[in-house]
Each structure stands twice: as structure tokens, then as C-alpha cells.
């Protein structure tokens, strides 16, 4: 109980600290920090439309966050969420713009194909880890670059539409429907459902338990007769499929076409969300929404105060820096001992 309280308190304090630093920087630059904070709030929640924009922004982050979360639960570092997300979106784009299919059937087909493609792309580092003992981080990072460049080939050559390097948009009938006419679409619902399913799988099924056991202690799991290799491969494929599904849903939900710079940074963002969410799928979703608030809000903040864009990047980095350090600190034995001493003293008094 106390643990949970600390786990929520630490991120809150960290965010506060990051903003204190950010406000000081802004004040030094001659901008009014209160105007800035107010703009941040208005930007994220000022109107129903802004709320819709924020949730739309959160959607891809939720998917890549869940992707990282699932793999980490099995003890493997999938840093390739970005590449898997992109491959999912690329395959989705092919089907949506070239298959001739439109409407619900095309949507379902795109989602399935996107998930499959993401899963296959993630299987590469998985297979190489199991059979060739490769470091999955390196392979997945390298494959991010390959996926990004491949997407480049697709939008500058193969599926190029007209004068600029970008593909045609997905047909109107294949676009995911908006919720309440806002920018947020059913992709957000899909993200939430995915999160719930993962939560259920990890904590309420025996396979999920075994997967977590592999993640906690691979040697012990092997000793207990769990098929460790199979779990590792499975966790890669499923985590890639989550990212691929996200890419597909995001393409049909908000982005509509492939373009230079698409999905840049989503993978690493996802890893940060998962770790701040302490590898809990539902917490990861909340963290992703929080970061979307921060991003949408800080865009308005930047516009309202005129401080350089890098200030909001610095604030976001500090949120991660402080939260991860804080969460690590409260897990330290010394810290736990100090807390215990303090509570003892109180009881003694």
C-alpha cells in the first residue's frame, strides 16, 4: 500500500521539479512562467478539441509503450518499437491504397496485416538472440534505421503520390471514425483494449505468469522447465505486433499517409513510458497520456511565450531524468532502511 503511494508520489514530485527548472529557464529568458503554465494547461485541456488532440497524440505512444512493456516483462529489451511501428504503417499503407479494398473490411485487414508485419519484423532480433546469441538492443536499433529508410523508399518511389515525397492518403472509407467529431479516433479505444488484454494476459493467465517468471529470473525459469527460448521469441513477436498494430491504427486514424519524419522517436518514447509506468500496462497507458498532455501543452506554451522549442524538450527530458532516478532511489535498500527508521521513531514518540 505504502509502496503504491510512493510509486505515484515520486513521478509527481519529479514532474514538479522538471517544471520548476523549466520555469526558471523561461524566467531567465524573459518569459512569464505563469503565462507559460497557463498556456500549457489551455493547450492540453482548454477545449474539447484540445482534449481530442491530446488523446490522439497519446494513441501511438500507448502502442509503443505497451510494446516496450510487454518485451521487458519477459526480460528482453526491445528498442525496435519504432521500426516495428513503421513497418506496420507501411504494410497498412500498401493495403489501404493499393488493394482496391475500402471500408470496414479493409480496416480489419490492415490492422491484422500491420500487426503481423510488426511481429515478423520483431522476430528478426528475437530469432537472432535465441539462435545466434545476438544482443537484441543493437539489432533492433539497427532495424529501426532500416525500417525508416525503407519507409523512405516507399514514400519517395514506390507509393509516391504526386509532387512531394509522400504516399496518397488512405481512402476516406478506410479512415478510422472520429470520436465525438474530435481528432481522437477509435484507434485510441483500440489502444486501451490492447492494454487491458495485455494486463489480463500478464497477470491472470498461467502463460503470462510464466512469461513474467522468465523476465524475473531466466536461469530459475529454465531450471523450472519453462521453455525460455519460446517465451523470448513470443515476447518479441507479440511486442512487435503491438507496435505494428499501432502503426496501422495510427496511419488510418490520424496520419493517413506516409511522409518524411513519420513516427520519429516513437520507439524510444515508448520505452520511457513503459519504464516510468514501471512495466505495468495500465500505468504505461496513463504515463503515455500524461506525456501527450505535456507535448500538446508545451507546443502551446512555446507558441505563447516564444521561448525556443528546445526548452520544452529539456523539460520533457528532465521529467524522465527525475522520475527514473526517483523511482530507482526509493527502491534502494538504504532508502528503505531510512524510511523504516523514520517510521520507527514516530512510533516510539
Amino acid at each position: 500500500m505504502k509502496n503504491k503511494f510512493v510509486n505515484i508520489l515520486v513521478p509527481l514530485i519529479s514532474v514538479l521539479l522538471a517544471f520548476v527548472v523549466g520555469c526558471i529557464v523561461m524566467a531567465v529568458l524573459g518569459a512569464n512562467p505563469f503565462v507559460a503554465l497557463q498556456a500549457l494547461w489551455t493547450g492540453a485541456f482548454g477545449s474539447m478539441r484540445n482534449v481530442g488532440t491530446t488523446l490522439a497524440r497519446a494513441t501511438p505512444l500507448i502502442f509503443t509503450g505497451l510494446c516496450a512493456c510487454f518485451a521487458y516483462r519477459c526480460g528482453v529489451f526491445n528498442l525496435g518499437g519504432e521500426g516495428q511501428f513503421i513497418i506496420g504503417a507501411v504494410v497498412c499503407c500498401f493495403i489501404a491504397t493499393r488493394s482496391g479494398l475500402e471500408g470496414p473490411l479493409a480496416i480489419v485487414l490492415c490492422l491484422i496485416a500491420g500487426a503481423l508485419a510488426g511481429g515478423l519484423w520483431a522476430a528478426i532480433p528475437g530469432v537472432l538472440k535465441i539462435y545466434r546469441g545476438q544482443n537484441e538492443m543493437i539489432i533492433s536499433i539497427m532495424l529501426n534505421y532500416v525500417a525508416t529508410l525503407f519507409m523512405g523508399v516507399v514514400y519517395t518511389n514506390w507509393l509516391r503520390d504526386g509532387t512531394v515525397p509522400q504516399t496518397a492518403p488512405v481512402p476516406d472509407a478506410t479512415k478510422l471514425s472520429r470520436l465525438f467529431g474530435l481528432r481522437v479516433t477509435t484507434a485510441f479505444i483500440l489502444a486501451l483494449v490492447t492494454g487491458l488484454l495485455i494486463y489480463y494476459f500478464l497477470f491472470y493467465t498461467s502463460k503470462g505468469f510464466q512469461l513474467r517468471a522468465v523476465g524475473l529470473n531466466m536461469t530459475a525459469a529454465q531450471f523450472n522447465g519453462f521453455a525460455v527460448k519460446r517465451y523470448i521469441l513470443m515476447s518479441f513477436i507479440v511486442s512487435g505486433a503491438i507496435a505494428g498494430l499501432g502503426g496501422s491504427a495510427d496511419l488510418m486514424g490520424t496520419q493517413y499517409r506516409l511522409i518524411n519524419g513519420y513516427a520519429s522517436g516513437y520507439g524510444f518514447d515508448g520505452v520511457a513510458m513503459a519504464l516510468i509506468g514501471q512495466l505495468h500496462p495500465l500505468a504505461t497507458i496513463l504515463v503515455a497520456i500524461f506525456f501527450a498532455v505535456l507535448r500538446v501543452g508545451s507546443t502551446t506554451m512555446q507558441a505563447a511565450t516564444g521561448v525556443p522549442t528546445s526548452v520544452s524538450d529539456i523539460i520533457q527530458a528532465l521529467v524522465i531524468v527525475f522520475t527514473v532516478a526517483g523511482l530507482a532511489m526509493v527502491k534502494l535498500p538504504q532508502f528503505k532502511a531510512a524510511i523504516a527508521r523514520m517510521t520507527e521513531k514516530k512510533e516510539a514518540v
Binding site: L17, V21, I24, V25, V28, L29, G30, A31, T42, G43, G46, R49, T53, R57, P60, G152, T156, G162, T163, V164, P165, Q166, P169, Y256, R257, I259, N260, G261, Y262, A263, S264, G265, Y266, R295, V296, T299, T300, Q302, A303, A304, T305, G306, V307, P308, T309, S310, I314, L318, V321, A325, G326, M329
Partner: protein, 353 residues
């Protein structure tokens, strides 16, 4: 205790950095548009506001800088306030635009075709705000539901001609080179214009001129790629360079300067764009100049008069948006004369006819 220490450390670092910079340039950030005096004091007392969004930095010494300064110059002329958001990620285009819309900006200025989707979306939601898309598609304004989008389109072929004529006159090896950033149609158009004019000039002057295949750096900030591309292309015999790749161009010029220094004399040349950059590097023999501020100014005028929207404004030599910058002494007087006469042909519409 340890945590406090870490915090103080970070704070001290950020503060000292901010402080040392703050004193240096008071005008570092925008938003201080209030100090811009209304130039002609016309109008009804309303101060109009323009905001620019850009995916590269406005201090990149290349495209971002040129587009930003175009806005600043135009704003100074018409007495507008300015603001900008730069280095924004692709996923934040729409949000950045909408942020300025919510702050009641009168004109949103987006220099690049990549913002088209985001601009059209925002233009639909904010019918009273004017949106100007530099290098936008000719057909984009027609797609805007509220007719509040204008495309500003410098003529890429003429841009290529202005550089290609000079390249054709100046090449000794008969090989000219072009370094592109992204494979966008304006870049392709510039390359095509560059190639056809250089080859044409070669025929006129009784020599063979051919252009190496276009190369693309894939991004606009990799000055090191510019260095390597220029070296590789010089190995292939290229001796006049033109490019459309922002900071990558500066890398190419650096490599050309180094090669010239090693050879002891300036034998390889570069033609700059989009501003007049003569003197920035030794190898620059001339510039193709695009007066984007004129285009932005036209938009401001239209907004003030309530006539904005729904059109594509082309930038050509004829309407003064495109021109040739000053030419270096490295270009012999007779070639300078020829250059001018060919430029006059472009002006008359008789070039390559």
C-alpha cells in the same frame, strides 16, 4: 541529500548556460514583437500577427534561416508582430499550427510542402485565419474548404536556369554537379532547369557540358554528407556545384574550398541559393536569390485588405521574386556580360526558345 545535490547541479548548469547566453543576444528569442514599430502607421490600429512553423532550425544558416528572415523582413515592412516554432517533429505540425490559431494569429506561414496536410486541416477548422504555404502545390489552395490557403511557389525551373547558365559558362571540365536534400519536386525542378540550361549554354559556347546525376543527402542538416558528396563528385570531374540542401550545401562548399586550397588556385566553383551568399566562401561565384519576403509581404497585404486566399502566387524573375545575386571577380568580364545577356533572355521569355 544526494538528490538535492543532483538537482542543484542541474540547476546550476542550466542557469549558468542560460545566463551566459542571455547577456549575449537580447533579441535571441521572438515574442518580443511588441517592440516592432508599426512601419507606416496605416490601418485601424490593429497590430497584425504572423507566425511561422518550421521543422528545421531557424538558425541553421540555410533554408530555415532564409525563410525566417523573409518573414522578419516582411513583418518589418508591414509593421506586423512575429512569432515562430522551429525544429518541430512531423507529429507536431498540426498542434503547432493550431496553437498559433488559438492565440489569434492572423497569418500562419509554413515554408514547405510537407505541412500541406496539417495546414489544410487547420484551415478547415479556423476559417478566419490566413494560411500561406511556401513551395506549396499549385492545386493546394483549391483544396481548402474555406478558401483561406495561398500557395507561394517560386518557379523551380527558373531557379535552375539562373544557376545553370553561370555553371555552363564557367565549367572547364564540362561537368557540373547538383546536391539535393530531399527528393521533392521543387528540388527535381531546380535540377532539371540547372541541367538543361547548363547543357544549352555549352552548345551555345561550343563545348560539351553534362551534369552528373543528382544525389540526395536525405536530410538537410548533414553538413558532413555535403563534404563527402562534394569530394566524390570532384573525383568525377565536376567543377561547378549547385545545390538545394540547406546545411549540406555549406559542407560541400567547405570541401570545395579545401580542394581549391590544396590545388593552389580556385578551380572549382559553387553557386549558392536562396540568398546572396557571395563572400561566405571563397568558391562561391554567384547566387540565385529568391525574395521570399516579397511573397510573404504580398500575403500580409492581402490579409490587411481582406482579399487573402485561394490563390497560387508564382515567384519568377519577371515579378522580381527570383534574381541573380552579385557575381564574383573569379568570373571574367566577358562571361559576366554573357551571363547578363542570357538572364535578360530569361526575363524576356526568349531563353532556350
Amino acid at each position: 541529500m544526494k538528490k538535492i545535490f543532483a538537482l542543484i547541479l542541474t540547476l546550476a548548469m542550466v542557469l549558468s548556460l542560460a545566463a551566459c547566453g542571455g547577456g549575449n543576444s537580447g533579441s535571441g528569442t521572438s515574442g518580443d514583437g511588441g517592440s516592432t514599430p508599426p512601419a507606416d502607421g496605416s490601418g485601424d490600429g490593429k497590430t497584425y500577427k504572423v507566425a511561422m512553423i518550421c521543422d528545421s532550425s531557424v538558425s541553421d544558416g540555410g533554408w530555415g534561416m532564409a525563410c525566417y528572415n523573409a518573414m522578419i523582413d516582411a513583418a518589418a515592412k508591414y509593421g506586423w508582430e512575429t512569432a515562430y516554432s522551429d525544429s518541430i517533429a512531423q507529429s507536431a505540425y498540426y498542434e503547432s499550427i493550431v496553437s498559433f490559431c488559438d492565440l489569434d494569429y492572423d497569418l500562419i506561414y509554413a515554408p514547405g510542402n510537407q505541412y500541406t496536410d496539417a495546414i489544410l486541416q487547420a484551415a478547415e477548422e479556423y476559417p478566419d485565419i490566413a494560411f500561406a504555404l511556401l513551395n506549396g502545390g499549385a492545386d493546394t489552395p483549391a483544396k481548402a474548404a474555406n478558401a483561406n490557403v495561398t500557395s507561394l511557389l517560386p518557379d523551380a525551373q527558373q531557379v535552375g536556369w539562373i544557376a545553370g547558365i553561370l555553371a555552363g559558362l564557367m565549367t572547364e571540365t564540362g561537368k557540373v554537379a547538383f546536391i539535393g536534400g530531399m527528393e521533392i519536386d521543387t528540388t527535381k525542378g531546380k535540377y532539371a532547369g540547372f541541367v538543361e540550361s547548363a547543357e544549352y549554354i555549352g552548345q551555345q559556347e561550343g563545348k560539351t557540358v553534362e551534369a552528373l546525376d543528382v544525389v540526395y543527402s536525405g536530410d538537410f542538416s548533414a553538413s558532413d554528407k555535403g563534404i563527402e558528396f562534394a569530394k566524390a563528385m570532384m573525383d568525377q570531374g565536376a567543377d561547378v556545384f549547385f545545390g538545394d540542401a540547406s546545411a549540406v550545401d555549406s559542407g560541400a562548399r567547405q570541401a570545395i574550398d579545401e580542394a581549391n586550397a590544396a590545388a593552389g588556385s580556385v578551380k572549382v566553383y559553387d553557386i549558392a541559393q536562396p540568398g546572396d551568399f557571395l563572400g561566405q566562401n571563397e568558391c562561391i561565384i554567384g547566387s540565385q536569390v529568391t525574395d521570399n519576403s516579397g511573397l510573404v509581404g504580398l500575403c500580409m497585404e492581402a490579409v490587411e485588405n481582406g482579399t487573402f486566399g485561394g490563390e497560387t502566387i508564382f515567384g519568377t524573375m519577371q515579378n522580381g521574386v527570383l534574381s541573380a545575386g552579385a557575381v564574383s571577380d573569379l568570373v571574367p568580364a566577358d562571361k559576366q556580360e554573357k551571363y547578363q545577356s542570357y538572364l535578360d533572355q530569361v526575363m524576356d521569355g526568349t531563353f532556350m526558345q
